[in-house]
Amino acid sequence: MTQSNDHTGGIVLTSLSKSYGSVRAVRSIDLQIAPGETVALLGPNGAGKTTTIDMVLGLTRPDSGSISLFGMTPAQAVAAGAVGGMLQTGSPLDHMKVRELVSLMASYYPHPLDVGDALRRTGAAEFAGQWTTKLSGGQAQRVRFAAALVGDADLLLLDEPTAGIDVEGRREFWQAMRAVAGRGKTVVFATHYLEEADAFADRIVLMSHGRIVADGPATEIKARAAARTIRGTLPGADLAGLVALPGVAAADRHGDTIILSCSDSDAALRPLLGAFPEIRDIEVGGGSLEEAFLELTAADKLDPEVVR
């Protein structure tokens, strides 16, 4: 990582964990984000992105670990109006018009944006007089975006903000987002679109199975992705032992096949052969970030912990 350890002004997640029954949604992640950064949380469905964002927003209580937002707890930061969020779910309140709902959200914050301004920036101005229950999916998404923006909070967390928006809408969305990030706000967004993460974030945090498996500038991640997944046949594999190997971020099993998601597959390979000499059919996944990402997605579908 390129960041220094002095982040009292930013976001610091330390050993953050959350389980739902036997599903370990977030497994002891550490993350530091400096003020003004735009960071993508990239990962397939079930990676733990929403759980992480909900914990940062104070909506979900972590099992263990700590969260500091500009030196405050999530609850304090929310109370201070320092946080704005666009959640993965939530349809606008009924019996209200779009402009009214955005005004209502603005009224909670100490220094909100002008409501008309927020509506224009998010492309919601055209239907500001519409009832919230009469909106198309893409329109509702813009209203949610306007509601998240209008508080003019220093930290914006967006959970899959372009889900359900068409290509044109996406382009407009990211244009608006760029303007916000350009004003010095800290922006964290979750996505499973590689192109979005690549195009709009300064930095990509790749999540899989509740862990951070890569973190850095998009270019650096691409380089690392060149050889990042190790597959092999290893009947009765000891997953805990595999995870403990250097350079291994996560280990999964599908039948007799093991899949190791690596932060450094070179570092993992030698000790792997030493510790598990019976391993056969070893493949080291290479290629683009896209391929590495697809690999992760595929592994996800097979992972018994996720399927359950």
Binding site: G81, L87, H95, S103, L104, M105, Y108
Partner: protein, 240 residues
């Protein structure tokens, strides 16, 4: 405050709900009491008794019903969006309580008018005393509505609210008869705010107000329910 304004506006815009809340007790009162204008009940004229009873019925529905809206807003997911704004629990509760009472007041006013039309005679202080006691006695119902709204899923809420109001009404003597006047059943009835709400009419006429027992029952329910509402409110941030 914008939050209060929109909370009220959203309720008023729900026309069907508003009409039903206002009309139902009124229609019941007129249809039952007009036939028994000169009867007496429990020491007072039947129209007064039944006017109070229907006022209680309508007002209980009115003040508990914001719970249904809370559950709908939770189901839509927007409640979580509100929780990441600086809006505080006190301000949110205050708005919901105010909205609940604003819905109860026209219900009372309509029934008073209907009561007066059927010959209920009360002095100005008696009307005020009656209204004051009703508003105080409704406090536990308001808080119960909030608590259930944050606790139950929207599907379960409508039957739950309806069931609770009907049960409280039945045991409180709202339907024009009392299930018991002595024994353990009567003790149960006297432990409910709805019983004392219905008795408010009698107390207002006598001029003496409620007995201490009534104040204790209402206060006890309120003291127990407020922390419950606060706890379920704070818990209601989980994904639905």
């Amino acid at each position: 405050m914008t939050h209060v304004r929109y909370d009220i506006l959203r309720m008023v815009r729900n026309r069907a709900f508003l009409a039903l809340t206002l009309a139902l007790p009124l229609v019941l009162f007129l249809s039952v009491a007009s036939g028994q204008r000169h009867a007496t009940h429990d020491g007072v004229g039947f129209p007064l008794y039944f006017m109070t009873a229907m006022a209680v019925y309508g007002a209980m529905f009115a003040v508990i019903s914001p719970g249904a809206r809370i559950a709908r807003d939770r189901a839509s997911g927007w409640t979580r969006q509100m929780r990441i704004t600086p809006l505080r629990i006190r301000a949110d509760f205050a708005a919901k309580v105010l909205t609940a009472y604003l819905l109860a007041l026209p219900t009372l006013a309509l029934l008073y008018l209907a009561g007066a039309a059927l010959g209920v005679h009360l002095g100005a202080t008696q009307w005020l005393k009656l209204t004051g006691l009703l508003l105080v006695g409704l406090v536990p119902l308001v808080v119960l509505g909030l608590a259930l709204g944050y606790l139950l899923p929207v599907d379960a809420l409508t039957p739950a609210l309806g069931g609770i109001v009907v049960l409280l009404a039945l045991l409180g003597g709202v339907y024009g008869f009392q299930l018991a006047t002595s024994g353990p059943m009567f003790d149960v009835m006297k432990a409910l705010p709805s019983y004392w709400l219905v008795q408010a009419g009698k107390a207002a006429i006598a001029g003496g107000g409620w007995p201490a027992e009534a104040w204790i029952v209402v206060a006890a329910w309120t003291i127990v329910l407020i922390p419950v509402a606060a706890v379920v409110y704070r818990r209601s941030t989980s994904r639905i």
